[in-house]
Symmetry: D2
Subunit: 344 residues, 4 copies
């Protein structure tokens, strides 16, 4: 009989932490250990995550290496800038899965520009759907989980770039639910402001996920890819729908595009190419670790258009993190991860 894998979650009172716990409660191989928080330390988890009834009475402890020590896996769901110190004090045999931004960007200058402060370094990048990444994750003990926007947009565009179907100038407009902004007490995230309204923010290349997309897509394309990225805030809690387009290469038609994507999706357990004529809806991925894709060519405008849907908290954060854990620990990749969304 296999021993349970003992996991800790740092940042358990936030949205990413809560989603990690929802998934881990349904994971057959793990046992949930320490749950840590910042300002909420000392209070019961149930006060912050009322849906996690089985863990309601667990007391949150202070986020520290001491509290996180003694686990097989430590998930960090913290604001950026907090992972390095903790990770340095956890053994190299402990699997540390960072849901924050600290170890995503390889370029120190990019880190400085977008986040400021010292560049912590780079860990194996937790997006197994990108070429070569799954292999890097096997046996890894440090993993940087991608941002929610880069997850879906990289998966959506990688096949086209890898196959040379498009020019390296992509335009991405991604509509996101509000949970992507975390449990932040800002006026523009209040229900009264969000409901019945669509807005935008960080327009014109100002969003921190832009360099991460550029990094991923350039690596796949083998040359620099420019990314024009606009995020939209839409009135729902979870989900991202990314509309991605780029000038289509000469001679590439819809059939060729479909062939490329079908081949790509056939090997990926969590990425589905929808039947022709059907376009993604985020509700189909709600609470599931999946990405739904559809592709077409706009012959008039000369552009390939790919639309991808995901749940930003599941595949976009916590589900992706658990998937990486499964790969790193040599468990079947889909263990404990829902593949069917809660719809309608």
């Amino acid at each position: 009989m296999r021993m349970a894998i003992r996991v800790a979650v740092a940042g358990a009172s936030g949205y990413a932490g809560g989603e990690l716990l929802r998934l881990l409660l349904g994971h057959p191989e793990v046992e949930i250990g320490a749950l840590t928080a910042g300002g909420n330390a000392g209070t019961p988890l149930g006060a912050h995550q009322p849906h996690l009834a089985p863990l309601a009475d667990r007391t949150l402890v202070e986020t520290s290496a001491e509290q996180l020590a003694g686990h097989d896996v430590v998930f960090l769901a913290l604001p950026h800038g907090h992972s390095a110190e903790i990770a340095a004090r956890l053994g190299q045999d402990v699997l540390v899965v960072d849901c924050g931004a600290d170890y995503r960007l390889a370029d120190a200058a990019a880190w400085q520009r977008w986040y400021g402060g010292e560049h912590a370094g780079t860990w194996p990048y937790g997006l197994p759907e990108l070429p070569g990444r799954r292999e890097e994750l096997r046996g890894a003990r440090r993993i940087a989980v991608p941002g929610c926007y880069p997850t879906v947009t990289s998966i959506a565009l990688a096949p086209a770039l890898a196959a040379g179907l498009i020019a390296p100038e992509v335009v991405v407009v991604a509509a996101s639910g509000t949970s992507g902004a975390g449990k932040s007490l800002k006026p523009n995230l209040l229900g009264s402001e969000v409901m019945g309204s669509v807005s935008t923010y960080s327009v014109g290349g100002a969003h921190r996920h832009t360099p991460e997309m550029t990094q991923n897509l350039s690596a796949v394309a083998g040359r620099p890819v420019s990314v024009s990225f606009t995020p939209l805030l839409v009135p729902m809690s979870r989900g991202i729908l990314a509309t991605c387009s780029a000038p289509v290469a000469d001679g590439v038609d819809a059939a060729r595009v479909r062939e490329v994507y079908a081949k790509y999706c056939a090997d990926e357990p969590f990425v589905h190419l929808l039947p022709e004529g059907s376009w993604p809806a985020t509700s189909s991925t709600l609470g599931a670790n999946t990405v739904h894709l559809q592709v077409t060519v706009d012959a008039d405008a000369g552009r390939l258009v790919v639309v991808g849907a995901e749940d930003n908290l599941t595949k976009g954060t916590a589900g992706g993190a658990v998937q990486c854990m499964n790969i790193a620990l040599d468990l079947p990749e889909t263990t404990g991860l829902p593949t069917v969304g809660v719809a309608p």
Copy 2:
């Protein structure tokens, strides 16, 4: 090694059918067989249930006893009035779980008044949380799953009535998401009408679930209980929050009430009494087979108030149906059923 239980779902293109399939895909003991529909027969399931990607290519067949024969379990998710004929033609060893209203009411006159047409009869009532019901379900081969409103309101009020805490005159106002109305093409169910608005319908005792509540609560109380029931339509897809109140009996205080409910919930795997000071939110039960309860006494108004939350499609319909199947087939009652909601 146990043989897989072979299940069929009649009405697979509707909301209840879709939720049954979502749950059954995650049930470790079942194998999904025939999927039937009415007008949608001949089309692929994926055209109607895009979230059920693993079953997208399955073709819906005509709802008939022939198509449903040869399974261990048949779930009926049909409009009322269609179950009797099908059930009569399925063997007595086949477990038939009816999510419709046909076999819920014991009183033929009540059936006539509320539904019209011939009264089909009564099957064991699929609400194991009511006194004596769980026992009736063990080994049963015909089960009538309750309506979504009666599920949560009966669970919310049964402990108080059983313990004589309240007078038998209850007032229930229950706010429901729109999926409770099914995939009906009516103007008042369009997103444009529903979003940003709360409305009501079937006010003044006109809702068909009223006699079912009266039946359940009177049985628990051992005397007639009058039910004033008002359903609200609120802008969300899933979830019911039921506010239930009644005049509190002399000498009953909040502590006594809490004691009764705590005892009740301790024995129920899917019913949670929230910590004091915390009130139910439907999101905590989204996609889960749970009911969350909280209770208090309004000393000024002299009323006990119980608030209950559920997901109308899960515990309120399909999850309750799977729970009943588990009991009837002597599986652990919680097999394959989520107990943590998808929140936020």
Copy 3:
């Protein structure tokens, strides 16, 4: 030619203040003067109320009697406890309309219990739809605008109590949009928490609007009325739907009830009794100063049921305040007030 009425709004960066300004911008007789705020003083209004484009460049000044002096009308949209000091320093010829709670309750002991601190006193109560109130408002220079819940529930139940149609024991369950809670940075008001969920709060007689309802309804009934009040928080920004019921008096049937309500509504410019068979939806009152009502008798349960809808920010706060100003200043009561909701 009439001189413009010069108005100031204290608390202009909040939701009530914003709605006052939206209405005042459309009011043909007023000129908008000082706009004050607390912590937001010194910033432009546009930073807080982006929809009020015509006033975007106005600078918010500190809330103080000095800044508010020199206007014909001063609207106070402040947290409770702040009105007395300001009002004392404004001339008796200035019309002060308080949207807060300070001057609503006549009973000093009730004030102490529900709000704490010293009881400021009582001003003419700004609900002209209650018997005798409209007359008190004519020429008044101090007005206390009712709470949003008491507005719709008092209008819904007053006709029945005045005509002796019901016993004085009412049960009210009112579903409200989140704007009723103001622009408060609390986790449970975040969009991520609110959307897709219904919850409740202040259950069991704990809501501060309860004594105001009791006061209003007892005055109408001429005897003590007990009120069991439960507020629900539903996923929309604006609107309240109140379901009100009470034991119906002997011999009172639906026809008699309808007659009483039709007579009442015929005299009220903002209260509409819907056609038989049609039930209120809050969207029909969105942004309008109206209350929509419907009534029935539940013969089985022996209860009268009245459902009322309003926009909590319009008729429930700012619209009611402007209506009172119109009455006090002897303008036509409907001046500048929308009577058609923005739907769908």
Copy 4:
């Protein structure tokens, strides 16, 4: 004293018709005459438009030239293909304002491709914010109101194209509320499907509003403009947020762009350029006849980005129609049209 302008609305039971009536009820110069419908003829307006309480008892009559004759202005809010026959039978002195697509496209081949059937012709195009269009509308007696998407995207991009700030290859992703699809009984428009989900449709150049945008933008640019257009369906009833981008011309920076847009907006009564740092939200335009704009340059990606917000039913349809009527009849252009949205 001016005589009231007598107006009729064809298609009064739909969303565009309802919005026309909401605005016309607040228009000081008009008197509402015949209200016509197709299948709903013979029923009271209140059964379809419960928010239009002042007109609840009006009976809908059959849509026909006979019923529409005898008015000064006739608004047509009908499915495409129905306007020509009616307009031909109304006098040339009657102002006919068509909210449908029939007379929008100048190119008969484009009409054939996108709508099929015979091309009806072209009427003066009701978007006064485009160069030269306002002049064409003065005194006009036939007007074609633009589609909801072309309204906001044409206004958003016209200044940049007119000033040569961008290359003629634009990418538009526009998120729309569901009311843009009309009161259509389709499963994907049900509240249960729409809420909590973002989806897309008519991707890859397949949306009928694409040729209208191409026509408008090419006219402004003085050369062919290619438009890649993707519409998103988001969970709200009203509002469009359009994200528009194109390669920026050499030497054009953010300051130059802002200068161009500020100059443009200064002359337009309904188009607002937001303060720097503030981005549009659709709620700020809810129920108002306004378009809110913001612009920036993404230097990394080399693109100009313009974001525009409108209410699809107001400025995008009915409000634009009333604005055109005002111009055609030489009334002040803003008469009866709200300029402040209902927010939050």
